[in-house]
């Protein structure tokens, strides 16, 4: 039972991290209609900035701040130089151009930081595990990630629902021509939205990099999962991204934990590898089922 609770927490934590990635992606798509494959590169930029600054200053917290700033800055720069030329293009050009950006970012990062993974580890205050009510022992840092994810969800909800910027973002989603006709500086709005999405990705990269490893190419697997999340939730919908992220996180974690065990009576000794093989396709199966059932995702308004 405690194992099941721990696995559920793992699924929740995984889902929260995916949400932080997916929120930026879905926002950028919703407002600018841009499909951004380079989102995973911004995640990598955040992780490397955090590792480099933490190593130079000895402070993890400064590293975390640096990850936000670096990713937002790089995001804004890329938006000004490249991305804004793509808004009027079709998805094909966007896919190819941002695919090219992935290559540039990966090799550029390798050129700057070398080919070996960087060191980044937890500050002592967040290391270790705590006992939760019910007898579950759980790492502090993963609890922090769950909390951060929840805070970001709340923050985004307030930002979009209650602030001027939020009104503009919603207006931009509804009718792009109209809001520029109303005198809103659409260029600045786009840069701001892209930088916000980039900063979220950068922070996700720093947090996950702390837990996993900081290395070139780290953004690619998570990029695809973030896309799966966005598509399940419905493109452009923050609420959809949140629900989608939790669905993906929990399905993946529980699938990996339970499938080999469930297959044991049927397959015997072969259950391990076969169960693991099936678990790895489970989230894609989930996505296919959702899209066949609702072609616009769970909360999608338009294609």
């Amino acid at each position: 039972m405690t194992l099941l609770i721990e696995q559920a927490l793992n699924g929740l934590q995984y889902g929260m991290m995916l949400f932080v990635m997916a929120a930026g992606l879905t926002l950028i798509f919703g407002v600018m209609g841009l499909i951004n494959l380079a989102h995973g590169s911004l995640y990598m930029v955040g992780a490397f900035a955090c590792a480099a600054v933490a190593a130079a200053t000895g402070s993890y917290w400064l590293g975390l701040v640096a990850s936000l700033i670096a990713a937002a800055f790089v995001g804004a720069l890329v938006e000004r130089l490249v991305i804004r030329r793509l808004y009027t293009r079709d998805h094909l050009d966007q896919v190819l151009a941002t695919f090219a950006l992935i290559l540039i970012f990966s090799e550029g990062t390798r050129w700057l930081f070398g080919s070996f993974p960087l060191y980044l580890s937890l500050p002592p205050a967040l290391a270790g595990a705590v006992s939760l009510p019910g007898g579950v022992t759980y790492p502090v840092f993963r609890l922090v990630i769950i909390a951060v994810g929840a805070l970001i969800a709340l923050g985004l909800w307030l930002l979009i629902g209650r602030t001027r910027l939020g009104i503009r973002i919603r207006a931009g989603e509804a009718d792009r021509e109209m809001i520029s006709a109303l005198g809103v500086d659409i260029g600045a709005l786009y840069t701001a939205v892209f930088a916000l999405g980039a900063a979220l990705a950068g922070m996700a990269g720093a947090l996950v990099g702390t837990l996993q490893s900081v290395q070139v190419g780290m953004g690619e697997p998570v990029l695809i999962l973030a896309f799966v999340t966005v598509v399940i939730g419905g493109i452009g919908s923050i609420k959809g991204a949140f629900i989608g992220a939790l669905l993906v996180g929990i399905t993946d974690t529980l699938g990996k934990a339970l499938l080999p065990v469930l297959l044991q009576p049927v397959l015997g000794a072969g259950a391990g590898p076969v169960g693991a093989a099936l678990a790895s396709v489970l989230i894609y199966l989930l996505m296919a089922v959702v899209l066949i059932w609702r072609p616009q995702g769970l909360y999608g308004a338009r294609a």
């Binding site: 793992n10 837990l211 697997p221």
Partner: protein, 383 residues
Amino acid sequence: MKLSKRLGLTTALIAGMAIAAPAMAEVKVGMITTLSGGGAGLGIDTRDGFQLALKQAGDKAKDIELLIEDDQQKPDVAVQIADKMIQSDNVDVLTGIVWSNLAMAVVPAAVGQGKFYLSTNAAPSALAGKGCNPNYFSVSYQNDNLHEAAGAYANDAGFKKVFIMAPNYPAGKDSLAGFKRYYKGDIASEVYTQVGQTDYAGEIAQIRASGADAVFFFLPGGMGIAFMKQYAGSGVETPVIGPAFSFSQDVLPAVGEAALGVKNTSNWSKDIDNPANKAFVEAFQADYNRLPSIYAAYGYDTANLLLSALEKAQPSDAEAFRAALKEASFDSVRGKFSFGPNNHPIQDLYVREVIDENGTLTNKIIATAMTDHGDAYAAECKM
């Protein structure tokens, strides 16, 4: 017509690509290794170790022409580079592949065409048993070796119930089979993870619940870094053991303190006490300003094996060259070194512990797990 002019220019360019001047050298060595992308660190160490040996050999290496190409860790690219090196560069010897799946794609065809292949790392079981070949030499190990040593060490350390884990691919299955071949206690649970997986919270929960008294894992590259960091923060105290890959000098700095005290098995360590090894570690640090990893050591040994064989015979005389390689009369950084009947090493395997040496994480040998150890497939090899 402008169109035709532009086409003409393109023709000239393309034709130019096809005609490249061939160069002359007595022995051509083709190195195919990973120099770009996420796995580049391993290939770069292999290359640097190999080149260091050639540099130290000075005049003796002057007849060797080394061609180096990047396989991008993609099997189809590796196959095409091998085709190119064999068909148009006419190399005599191939070497350098890091990954087993790339080796499986390249080696059988290369040795089938009469070329020599010296492995600096990957040595899958399929090439050690029925698929062995007199022109294929593994200088590093047979893939199962380090896992077998971990199994033997688990007995020595008195572990009775071990949780074992590896990625769900052939090298991972070989790994767990290798561990179980020598480990005599119970298996708490046998878990296959996804290839490229970076979050191990689920597996750590299973370890916590399993009641195992030790964990054996094989997770190369970023997978191992991620697992070790998450394991250290999980509050699970069960000791872990693993093969050297997750504790080698290329990844150790990234794992950090989480690795301190972990026992891992290897056939090389920078503190193996022999003159060749001392000279290698010092020269490598002087030239590249970093500590060498196991991959650098294998690259270095491979180049020295090649040099030792070239003193006695040329690859053009395949029979004699094969015999000269088989003698393995070079000073290995691993000390004792010889080839078994299937051209795989017979060597000592050590248990190392990760220590902090004046602020740098590195390994120290604490025990010998197996002596003069060959591999389980030699008997199946008929050549």
